[in-house]
């Protein structure tokens, strides 16, 4: 047996998607019904509806909806955490869901972004700069993207499961550097990470520790912008190339897709979004140490993407919300959360491998079938 000659006919990611093909047809058809009705609405109505949903989420911390708020923790700060997880899932979805690259060390980019803000922004750091917060964020994104390119450059040619392990190693290296490096200062960490600028009329800081709603609104805004950006990419040559690579990398190359270039873009964009989420996280905490970046959290990120439905923004959002919100809502059970997510990963892969919300494409097609059938009936009548 020669594993060296194991040239997979389809990319590992493509075969991954093969696995997502046991479909609960009825449920998909139901979703497709909702989707086609949605698409049939006039554009104005659709925009208004989306705006209403956005407004609802902005108002969420002010609405006293029974059962949703978290009894044990500040609801707004939980919402902030949820928003950061959603941002992570949106970024990781580009890598796993669209380009089909299994990245188990995504936490590494999250950490790079968080530490970039802390190292360049905190007066306690020896490398502190005088840049304002609004400059630090692009710096954090840039540093993360560069680290993504440095990691991806040599490794993106590897087989899928090897890539998974290398990225896992990368995530762990980043954590160990954070633990051991004098500047990141291990468990003691870096205090006084700068917060976004702005003041209330009474002079107290807008992004303070008491009222965390501004942080949530900021994170929500960032999430919406990034989702919009990812959507733009999806509906373009870039998104098509990612899907083609995920489906069959060799065939994609032979159809003129520069697969390495687009894989590297996926990796860099994913890293940038991961870094951005880390930067927001660090700004909100005001303090970071190496404890926040263990590999279990990285596995949790993957779980968020896979549970909800890889390749699909609504799906990964749902996954991220579940994974970050449930343990906060049911604090008493938080001890069991990793156990639960571990079992959930197995169960989902075995019983519902396409995730909770299956991808748009299947739904579109079923809707088309239905329409065709109806047209035939009308034509025959």
């Amino acid at each position: 047996m020669s594993t060296g000659g194991d040239a997979p006919r389809r990319s590992a990611g493509g075969r991954f998607v093969d696995g997502l093909r046991t479909v609960d047809e009825r449920r998909v058809a139901g979703l497709a019904g909702i989707r086609s009705r949605w698409r049939a609405l006039p554009l104005v109505v659709r925009i208004a509806a989306l705006a209403a949903v956005a407004v609802f989420f902005y108002l969420l911390p002010n609405l006293a909806i029974p059962l949703i708020p978290t009894p044990d923790t500040n609801f707004a700060s939980v919402l902030f955490t949820v928003a950061v997880y959603v941002l992570v899932a949106v970024g990781l979805n580009v890598v796993i869901g669209l380009a089909g690259l299994l990245d188990l060390g995504y936490i590494g980019f999250f950490a790079v972004g968080a530490y970039s803000v802390a190292i360049f922004g905190s007066p306690a750091s020896p490398l502190a700069t005088k840049y304002p917060w609004l400059m630090l964020i692009p710096i954090a994104i840039a540093v993360s993207m560069v680290s993504g390119v440095i990691l991806g450059g040599p490794t993106l040619r590897l087989r899928g499961d090897y890539l998974a392990i290398v990225t896992l190693g990368f995530g762990e290296i980043v954590r160990l550097i954070a633990v051991n490096w004098s500047i990141t200062n291990g468990q003691i960490g870096i205090p006084n990470v700068p917060a976004p600028p702005g003041k209330f009329p009474d002079g107290s800081p807008l992004f303070g520790v008491i009222d965390t709603r501004p942080f949530y609104w900021l994170a929500l805004t960032v999430v919406l912008i990034c989702m919009f950006g990812v959507k733009l990419l999806e509906n373009s040559r870039v998104g098509r190339s990612w899907l083609a690579i995920r489906e069959d990398e060799d065939a994609a190359e032979l159809m003129g897709v520069p697969s390495f270039k687009f894989k590297l873009w996926a990796f860099a964009i994913g890293a940038g979004l991961g870094g951005l989420s880390g930067a927001l996280f660090a700004s909100r905490q005001g303090f970071i140490n190496s404890n926040s970046f263990d590999v279990l959290t990285s596995v949790l990120f993957v779980a968020a993407v896979v549970l909800g439905g890889a390749g699909n923004l609504a799906g990964v959002t749902l996954g991220a919300v579940l994974i970050s919100y449930l343990p906060e809502r049911f604090r008493g059970a938080a001890e069991y959360r990793f156990l639960f997510f571990g079992l959930a990963l197995i169960a989902i892969m075995i019983f519902r491998p396409q995730g909770l919300i299956p991808s748009r494409r299947r739904a579109v097609e079923l809707a088309d079938r239905k329409r065709e059938a109806e047209e035939e009936v009308t034509a025959g009548a």
Partner: protein, 266 residues
């Protein structure tokens, strides 16, 4: 001008020059040379294991030949990456269909068209004019090609759900979308019934009439004889004939190769 031995005369589009391909100790292609002339339909035939698909793979950059050179319009192809070769003007289909199964037929063809597009992440994010132009042109072209191949109804179906014949047609549409000068078809009629084969013949001629050159690997001798201007025959990695269909049919070496008569007896 067509003549008896060379089919359609035209300047060489693709030159395969003394190509040898070895895998370990096995020689799959043994000093193969032939050329494809602009505007012709060239058949590449031979018994199983003769090296036809290996030849395709060397031309399209899947394999680096052990020695020898491949040129398209005089430009060297060896050691160029696969997507660069495609952009230079060679497109192909696969013996075993290799579509992008979870993408719609339209998107499959659009991916092919993207070979000639240049929009990358910044252009797509900022919706620059070039992105918009390319999207519009790509969609129009994709619909035209689906129409040309006779599968306009399939546009929004996922590739994996199409019937077998439509998948074969979609693969050709996707290859055509890359805007090739040379279209390489690897057993496009495999699994077709006689009526479908007839249709395919007409289609290949129409592709040539659009100004594209076609290189055809085929097992079905009747199909090859009926449509090609010239035929190259491989056996055990060596070229044993290169002539017009009639001459090839009469060539004792070819007959021997296909009927399994020992070479010395032939």
């Amino acid at each position: 001008m067509p003549d008896a031995t060379t089919g359609v005369a035209g300047p060489p589009l693709l030159e395969v020059d003394d190509v040898t391909m070895q895998f370990g100790g096995v020689t799959a292609l043994d000093h193969i040379s032939f050329e494809v002339r602009r505007g012709e339909i060239l058949g590449l035939i031979g018994p199983n294991g003769a090296g036809k698909t290996t030849c395709f793979n060397v031309m399209t950059g899947v394999f680096q030949p052990t020695s020898g050179e491949v040129r398209l319009n005089g430009q060297k192809l060896v050691s160029r990456s696969r997507h660069q070769i495609t952009r230079l003007g060679i497109a192909r289909t696969f013996q075993n269909i290799r579509l992008f199964p979870e993408m719609t037929a339209l998107e499959n063809v659009q991916v092919g068209g993207d070979a000639r597009h240049r929009t990358s992440v910044p252009g797509a994010l900022l919706r620059l004019p070039r992105h918009r132009r390319e999207e519009r042109d790509g969609r129009t072209q994709a619909f035209e090609l689906l129409d040309f191949m006779g599968i306009p109804h399939a546009a929004n179906s996922l590739a994996r759900n199409l019937p077998y014949g439509d998948q074969r047609r979609l693969e050709i549409a996707r290859a055509l979308a890359t805007g090739p000068e040379l279209l390489c078809l690897d057993e496009p009629a495999a699994g077709f019934n006689p009526a479908e084969k007839e249709e395919l013949l007409a289609l290949i001629r129409r592709i040539r009439d659009r100004g594209q050159t076609v290189l055809l690997i085929e097992h079905d001798m009747r199909l090859v004889m009926g449509v090609t201007d010239r035929i190259v025959v491989l056996e055990f990695g060596r070229k044993i004939a290169d002539a017009a269909p009639a001459a090839v049919r009469a060539d004792p070496k070819v007959v021997a190769a296909y009927l399994g008569v020992p070479e010395d007896a032939a």
